[in-house]
Amino acid sequence: MSKLTVGRRNLLKAGAASLFLAGVPIAGFTKDKLLGSISVIILEGGMDGLAAIPPIGDADLMRMRQAISPASYLPLNDFFGLHPSLQFYAQLMARGQASAVHATAFPYTKRSHFEGQNMIEGGGLSPFSEKTGWLGRALELAGVAGRSLSLDMPLILRGHRDNDNFYPASIRGSGRPPADLVEMIAMGHQMDAAQMFTKVARKSEERVQVPRDPASLAAYAGRVMAQTDGPVASVIRVGGFDTHANQVEEGDTDAGQLARQLSVVDDVIAGYRRGLGKAWDDAIILTLTEFGRTVAVNGTLGTDHGYGSVGLLAGGALPSSRVVTNWPGLSKKDQFERRDLLATIDYRSVCAACLEKALGLDHDLIASQIFHQPDLPRVFEHLFA
């Protein structure tokens, strides 16, 4: 873990800027600040950041992974390119409404999906240490609700009782259950189960038909977040990033499993943009993944579990487009444990900055109460100044 802090030098400086707030009793949620919104796209499986935003200016990239680096990348600057699947995201980049943070990760280096996913959703100091999620705890502090676009309630949103989920049913022979029946059933249940049925009763008043593909769900999420009193946070999961095999197609590095999944992410971001309408101006969307992948290509045109990856950010709340990084290099000696991209930026700091921007929560409060890491560096200026 010591390696992680080496690269944090520049960020620690940024962190110091917020130290003067540390003595304030409890800044918490300030009602006078306008609420934005925060949406998280969870990329399950461990997204290959080196393929999504390839560091084309790093000579080691082509030496180590020519077989899987997208040939038709879109150049972002002298050093970074963008995967050709991220077309809409590229347009946002051009308009100053998208950024990326590279060589970043949650401080988890053991390469297990399930520990890693628990870390990035729970936001705890070790796997399985949290029963609630970092976004849920933030919403609890801010006193506002969020919604997940999934059948289940993901860990990341747990922790605030008004949080809800949405995933329309399609069951032959059943209509929306009558609210009074469901309320009677709720009364027969205890605590959390009663709460769930109460939410079902509330839902049965709504009449919405939404296709269940991620992009349509994102557009729906955007629409409800744009409403007065709508949720201020949403979560969407996109799976399929565990690209051990056939990450690219034989003979076409722009196609394959990763290209398909990145297109889904691109569509989700476009869906949010469509749904949010004017509320886009105050919106921030960020991706989250449990780890990056090995620098080297494995024997099956894929990559195995690694460490550092990339975070994609989008939304009108961003002041300009940047690729924020403290690039560690790709040569063997620069790799984490001689195999992975090193993470030099703690992604929890990025999440914290987005929470600060969207919910108006104070950084020190976020660091201590949400991530239980009082000295978490503040990177707000790097993204939002």
Binding site: F114, D152, I171, I185, M187, G302
Partner: protein, 483 residues
């Protein structure tokens, strides 16, 4: 609930609406562990319960043939050849060569009609422990793995089941092992001399074998151990699409199960968690046997069994008792299961039921015909959905694409408004379209429903439909606490 239903809710699927109830439940549980397991179902609505026909239960060789055929016709479809690009041809190809919907339907039917309910619950536990997700190319294999790799192995040892499922083509394909080659294997060496040839190790299965199937991260193994396991596994499995001559050449035989490609294997001795593993085909059995009897495996899986059947938060004593049964029986599964059931039956607190378990119990209790017959799989029915669709809507199917850690045993992971809405809507749909043979009050009488349940059902009024929904979504039937 009376003894018969309390116990079968916990460790079985409840007695069907017309089944005679045993008086000696202890003896019944023991007899269930040895129960024969024919796949029971119905050929069409209102037909008598019968065994699934053999032609709908093909062996692996047949399944592989169907898969090859399916891909070949898909290719013709893309190329617009031989009339394969018509809708009728597309449908025929799916119907004739894909097993997923048939297997999933068989699984559902046997859970609804089966007389081996305890074994079916155990099958669900172990099929979940050894998750094989549907990555499309595994679609023809998952059902076979569940029937032959799990259900058929319930009366042997854990070591036997572990080796069997690790070498099943479904697992070897799902976790990419069929394409993995040792770095120093003959295949990799030959390949590296050719341009654009990719060959090498893929550690996916090696990692999950340690993390999910046996010792768990608590064992503190290293990346080197994972690599060691992947090296032991290199060479195991053959692509389901492989044509027969190629297959014969690669594995020296025709059996997809336990297929071993010598030229892909990593030479030399390997080391996994301090254990030296010999080179060659026997190495994997040596590894899985080592892992199967490892203390961390015993602890991890004993805890998981308790969480599934006994309590979300089993006590240390409860877990210890399963661990000692495991050690005493040397990993004999019936010995382990017997101890787990003893705890489950004695457990005072409610245990939340998985959505699919609950659904099967609702259908069995009510005598509904909520699923089509096997002869009607491909016929649209405007009242009854396919088994595939039902399980998908419910959010729990062994044929879904999901992560290799499977479905959670912790109730908090199933607590969401949408999940609960599904329970209400399925209860509604089963009552409306399933032609239930028993009403809410008849079911309450038969199972000896608790006073709180009767009160809840009474509170929703006189509509048989509302009563049915209220009963099935009551805390008692869902495995939750009463008010």
């Amino acid at each position: 609930m009376n003894e018969q239903f309390r116990i079968t809710q916990r460790i079985g699927l409840m007695f069907r609406y017309d089944q005679d109830l045993p008086q000696d439940m202890e003896a019944w549980v023991q007899s269930q562990l040895q129960a024969p397991s024919p796949a029971l179902g119905i050929p069409h609505a209102y037909a008598k319960v019968a065994q699934w026909p053999d032609e709908l239960q093909p062996n692996l060789a047949k399944r592989a043939y169907m898969w090859r055929r399916y891909r070949a016709l898909k290719k013709q479809e893309r190329e617009g050849k031989n009339g394969q690009d018509t809708e009728a041809a597309r449908q025929a190809n799916r119907r004739n060569h894909l097993m997923r919907e048939k297997d999933e339907h068989k699984f559902v039917q046997r859970n609804v009609y089966g007389a081996d309910q305890v074994k079916l619950r155990l099958t669900a536990f172990w099929a979940n422990h050894f998750t094989i997700g549907n990555t499309f190319d595994t679609g023809n294999m998952i059902g076979h793995a569940i029937d032959k790799g799990i259900l058929a192995k319930l009366n042997g040892s854990f070591a036997e089941m572990l080796y069997g499922i690790t070498t099943h083509p479904g697992m070897l394909t799902y976790l990419d092992n069929v394409w993995s080659a040792g770095e120093r294997s003959e295949h990799a060496k030959g390949c590296h001399r050719r341009p654009n040839c990719h060959a090498g190790l893929n550690d996916n299965l090696g990692r999950e074998l340690l993390e999910l199937h046996t010792v768990s991260p608590a064992a503190g193994y290293s990346e080197d151990d994972i690599r060691g396991a992947a090296n032991v596994l290199a060479g195991w499995g053959v692509d389901f699409q492989e044509e027969l001559p190629g297959m014969r050449k690669k594995i020296g035989g025709m059996n997809h199960w336990k297929a071993y490609k010598k030229r892909w294997a990593e030479p030399g001795t390997k080391k996994v968690m301090g254990q030296l593993i010999h080179a060659g085909r026997g190495g994997l059995r040596q590894l899985t046997d080592f892992l199967a009897s490892h203390e961390h495996t015993i602890n991890y899986i004993s805890t998981k069994l308790c969480q599934h059947f006994v309590s979300d938060n089993p006590s240390k004593d409860q877990i210890e008792s399963v661990k000692s049964a495991w050690r005493q029986g040397d990993g004999d599964l019936p010995t382990i299961h017997t101890q787990v059931f003893k705890l489950a039956i004695a457990a005072p607190e409610a245990k939340f039921l998985w959505p699919m378990t609950w659904l099967f119990q609702v259908v069995r209790l009510s005598g509904a015909t909520y699923f089509k017959g096997w002869e009607d799989i491909d016929n649209y029915n405007n009242q009854l959905m396919s088994s595939k669709k039902v399980l998908k809507e419910l959010g729990q199917s062994f044929w879904s694409l999901r992560q290799p850690n499977g479905y959670s045993d912790d109730r908090v992971d199933w607590m969401s408004a949408e999940m609960f809405e599904r329970r209400i809507r399925f209860a509604d749909a089963i009552h409306k379209n399933g032609n239930t043979r028993r009403s809410a009050s008849e079911i309450m009488h038969r199972i000896g429903a608790a006073k709180q349940t009767r009160n809840l059902v009474a509170s929703v009024g006189n509509s048989p439909r509302d009563q049915f929904i209220a009963l099935m979504c009551s805390p008692e039937l869902m495995g939750l606490e009463y008010v």
